[in-house]
């Protein structure tokens, strides 16, 4: 164990080692500013040209007692000189700002990993709050790690003693000290963060200066102390040329929907009720007033989807967004949208269930709810983005389908995608295809439930159009005229038509592509946010010579038209899902393929090792 006081045996100049990939986890009390340290580290790493992937771990309780186990907040960032798809299974470095952070995160740190602890916080009170019987810094329990005890609080307040700030304000800067130290350890420049500090605290120069001083002090500490024998360099990753920014899935989702409204030339109307982890989509859209975006914070999820349906009836893009419990409340209204055949997009940022479950934790548990969670035969289209930046693409795609087929489309994101971030190659707006919108206008030919022969969509006739006055509603409609009908043959026909309309979408979406072998061996089939881990695990297995291929579904209803053919070309099919086998049920039921599953429902993303291990059993 290294301590400051001990006489050091290290060489004077730490050596510089080159690494391909590093994963750091910042962990501390929710008041310690760990999310901020993590995002700043991410931005700088992106700017220096690494590929990056992040995942925040936010406590469910907003104001858990200081220093307590439930109050621990974490942020993991992985950065690499190669293309990466996940924020890393396990951290290489754990920064623990207090005993509680150490306690909740240490299990994830592999033996031999770097552990940086703020030793100042290891007081008896804090140890008790974290349920430590003895001080782990003293009792030898950290022997397996490369532990660095840094008196971060003391060093930070010493650096800021002339700042003129209060003790509390000074203490708040210690995340910057820790960040500065990590910047030194991984040879990153400070300028991106100092610029950000100036922007953020511009109105309060004393606070801005203090944050910058703390940042520099942390960096200088790394440089001058003899504690660290080595520091590291992670070279640039080869990336497609272009302009990049870092983006979370929820940001990309909001941006995708605004972009869709511009591509369609129609107003975006977002009806929603706050719920973790979907609320950020509302926060993003609520500030976009000058884009003509209307946001409606409704009294509940039923009103939220109702208002969106009302907006769609009027010719706007009616969008609603929620997480699992809210999707349950929206069921009846989504069924109404199926019946009245109006465009509607429903965002579900899935979280661990059932019931209130674990609001900040990720899960893929709502697939069957999205597919079937309504009364009657009530088909809707379902899409699922595969990565944070794919949220942008699939948001636009969801609207294209909703408008063209006059149908509700469920957009299945999850907590992992929504809160995690990755670099996004900024698209060229001009190159994005426009979304055509056609309203009915000709009274001579208008029939409310006549259908487009290609798409089976009925006309979208919006109020304000002369002589197209008509009535829609949730009662069964007569084919063509749209009058209320209880006729048995008509009902049978309409049930089939609504189902056929959704199936027509299969002709309009890309075929499923396989990465790996054309045929034979094991196929790993995933959907949604597991793309990154599955890709990495399959790449590693192939590198070991295993006959494994992968395919990833972003369209879940209807499935890509070639899915059945693809499945039959392989000897075995493995479907990893963070649920008990919901896609597997659909695949087995639809294609009579004897797929096997990997189902771990821990409120966390899979690790690459999880998938590798399961592949090893099968291939």
């Amino acid at each position: 164990m290294t301590t400051l006081t001990k006489e050091s045996q290290q060489p004077e100049h730490p050596e510089l080692l080159e690494l391909d990939r590093v994963t750091i986890r910042f962990a501390g009390d929710s008041g310690d500013g760990m999310q901020l340290a993590g995002t700043q580290f991410t931005k700088t790493s992106a700017v220096v040209g690494n590929d990056i992937s992040t995942f925040p771990d936010i406590p469910a309780e907003i104001r858990a007692p200081q220093g307590s186990l439930p109050g621990v907040s974490g942020f993991q960032v992985s950065f690499a000189s190669t293309e990466i798809y996940t924020p890393g299974d396990a951290p290489d470095v754990l920064v623990a700002m207090n005993p509680a952070a150490l306690k909740t995160n240490l299990a994830d740190l592999p033996r031999g990993g770097i552990l940086v602890v703020n030793e100042d916080e290891f007081s008896e009170t804090n140890l008790r709050k974290a349920a430590y019987a003895s001080n782990p810094l003293e009792d030898g329990s950290l022997r397996a790690y490369r532990t660095f005890r840094v008196p971060i609080s003391t060093l930070n307040s010493r650096a800021l003693k002339d700042s003129g700030l209060t003790a509390v304000q000074i203490d708040r800067c210690k995340n910057m000290f820790a960040l500065g130290l990590m910047f030194w350890l991984y040879s990153r420049p400070l300028d991106t963060t100092t610029r950000w500090i100036d922007e953020k605290f511009g109105k309060n120069p004393a606070v801005a200066d203090a944050n910058k001083t703390a940042l520099k002090a942390g960096y200088a500490f790394g440089e001058t102390t003899e504690m660290f024998a080595t520091h590291y360099h992670v070279p640039k990753a080869p990336q497609q040329p272009g302009l990049y920014r870092n983006i979370t899935g929820n940001e990309a989702t909001a941006l995708g929907f605004v972009t869709a409204s511009k591509l369609a030339g129609r107003q975006l109307f977002y009806g929603t009720y706050p719920i973790t982890p979907a609320s950020d989509v509302l926060h993003e859209l609520a500030r976009l007033k000058r884009f003509g975006v209307k946001t409606f914070q409704a009294e509940d999820e039923i009103a939220a989807v109702g208002a969106a349906i009302g907006a769609s009836f009027g010719g706007s893009l009616g969008l609603t967004g929620t997480s699992g419990p809210g999707l349950a409340l929206k069921s009846e209204a989504i069924g109404l949208a199926v019946m009245v055949e109006l465009p509607l997009v429903i965002i579900d940022v899935q979280r661990a269930g059932p019931s209130t479950g674990m609001p900040t934790k990720t899960e893929q548990g709502d697939l069957l709810q999205a597919m079937f969670g309504r009364n009657g035969e009530s088909p809707v289209a379902v899409v699922a983005p595969a990565t944070a930046s794919d949220c942008f693409t699939m948001a636009i795609e969801a609207w294209r389908l909703a408008i063209k087929y006059r149908t509700p489309v469920v957009f299945l994101s999850d907590a992992y995608l929504g809160m995690g971030s990755e670099p996004w190659l900024v698209p060229d707006f001009e190159s994005l295809p426009r979304i055509p919108v056609e309203f009915a206008s000709d009274p001579a030919t208008f029939k409310p439930y006549a259908r487009d022969p290609e798409t089976l969509a009925r006309p979208w006739a919006i109020p304000g159009t002369p002589d197209l006055e008509h009535r829609i509603g949730g009662l069964e409609k007569s084919d063509i005229t749209g009058n209320v009908s209880y006729d048995p043959a008509n009902h049978d026909k309409m049930v089939h038509l609504r189902a056929a309309k959704i199936q027509r979408i299969a002709q309009d979406i890309p075929e499923l592509e396989v990465e790996g072998d054309e045929r034979g061996g094991l196929l790993v089939l995933g959907w949604g946010s597991t793309y990154g881990v599955i890709t990495t695990a399959v790449q590693r297995a192939r590198a070991e010579g295993k006959k494994v291929s992968m395919a990833h579904l972003r369209y879940l209803n209807p499935f890509p038209r070639n899915l059945g053919d693809v499945l039959r070309r392989y000897d075995r099919v493995l479907i990893p899902e963070i649920n008990l086998g919901q896609l597997r049920l659909l695949i087995r039921g639809t294609f009579l393929v004897d797929a096997v599953g990997f189902n771990k429902v821990a409120g966390r993303p899979f690790t690459i090792r999880d998938i590798e291990a399961r592949i090893a059993e099968l291939a």
Binding site: K43, A46, V47, G49, T192, W196, Q239, Q240, P241, G242, L243, Y244, R245, N246, L255, T259, K262, Q267, F269, L288, K289, R290, F291, G292, K294, F296, A298, E299, D300, I302, A303, G306, A307, I309, G310, A311, F313, G314, G315, S316, L336, V340, V426, P427, F429, P463, G464, T465, P466, D467, L468, E469, H470, R471, I472, G473, G474, L475, N483, V484
Partner: protein, 346 residues
């Protein structure tokens, strides 16, 4: 009579009541009070002076909620209780439309109670017509949240044990800016009240006492029957003392915080002692008091209890957008793409 004072467009061909009758066969029980509400609504429409295509009727579920099918306007018969939500989304996204909500006592106050509260407090510019028959008609006669305590119905053979809501009191409590009541049996009054609702900017809440002659016949007859109406109902008129009675000799006087019925000319009481109706009072106390006056203790007030001005939700929403565009210019998504730190890979 409605003066086409708001939003009326010049040069529209004059429409007649018939233009608002749809081709659908009306399916209410013969004698149902809903017929009268439909007829008065259709009668009012041509007087609004707005094109038919700009009018939308949105309803929930119930006998009453079938009304949109019979109106030759745009219509949306939605799901139980949710019409205010759907109407809010339509109006907020298309403020130029005239949007009417048709609902029942169960639809609005039971399953849809939450939405009613919020549409009123937001003051979305809608007309909300509540057909109150104090029963669940469509589901064949269960008690409703407005059924009187102890009422025996199919679902309450021993009498109800839950206290009823007073719709107008609820509306006032929800900060409604326009609160009115009328009855199916008085077409002239109804058409006038509906017209006032249309003229009001904001959520205009109208309760209509509607007879369900199948499951709750005569629920209001004790005071709405022609012969007794004058003595048992109080027709509110703006700026006028609250007088009623065949002889126009009875009135409402305030005794401390309580209303009381007095006779003009008796014990030296003159018209000057009576409460003067002022629907524009910001303070809702008197309106609240009126909303709770019921027969037989009091005459039942009808007319406009409250009509005050407050900015509408839809107008405020539009204004926020206009202000943002004025301040920062219309948004270009390309700027959003590159928000925050960006970097270039060569």
């Amino acid at each position: 009579m409605v003066t086409a004072s708001r939003d009326s467009k010049d040069g529209i061909e004059a429409l007649s009541r018939k233009d608002f009758v749809s081709d659908q066969e009306v399916r209410w029980c013969p004698g149902c009070g809903d017929y009268s509400i439909l007829a008065q609504t259709q009668k009012l429409m041509p007087d609004l002076g707005i094109p038919r295509e700009d009018i939308v009727f949105i309803s929930g579920i119930g006998c009453s909620s079938r009304l949109p099918y019979y109106m030759n306007t745009y219509g949306f018969h939605s799901i139980h209780g949710r019409a205010p939500a759907i109407a809010s989304g339509l109006k907020a996204s298309r403020p130029e439309l005239s949007v009417w909500v048709v609902t029942g006592d169960g639809d609005a106050l039971s399953i849809g109670g939450n939405h009613l509260l919020h549409v009123l407090r937001r003051n979305v510019d809608l007309q909300i017509i509540l057909h109150n028959n104090q029963i669940y008609g469509l589901t064949k006669g269960q008690y409703s949240p407005t059924s009187e305590l102890g009422k025996r119905t199919k679902s309450s053979p021993a009498g109800t044990i839950d206290a009823p809501l007073h719709p107008l009191t609820v509306a006032l409590g929800a900060e409604a800016t326009f609160v009115a009541r009328t009855i199916d049996a008085d077409p002239h009054h109804m058409v006038a009240v509906l017209g006032r609702a249309y003229e009001h900017r904001g959520a205009a809440f109208c309760e209509v006492y509607q007879n369900c002659n199948i499951f709750n016949d005569g629920a209001f007859a004790a005071f709405t029957a022609k012969e007794v109406r004058a003595d048992r109902m109080l027709y509110l008129e703006q700026g006028k003392p609250m007088i009623f009675g065949k002889e126009r000799n009875k009135g409402i006087r305030l005794n401390g915080l309580r209303p009381e019925v007095v006779e003009v000319g008796v014990d030296g009481i003159t018209e000057a002692d009576l409460l003067v109706h002022d629907e524009t009072r910001e303070d809702p106390t008197i309106a609240f008091m009126l909303s709770r006056m019921s027969y037989p203790e009091f005459p039942v007030p009808v007319g406009v209890l409250r009509a005050v001005q407050r900015p509408t939700y839809d107008a405020l929403m539009t204004a926020q957008i206009e202000r943002a565009v004025e301040a920062e210019g219309p948004g270009d998504v390309r700027d959003l793409f590159v928000e925050g730190d960006t970097w270039t890979v060569e």
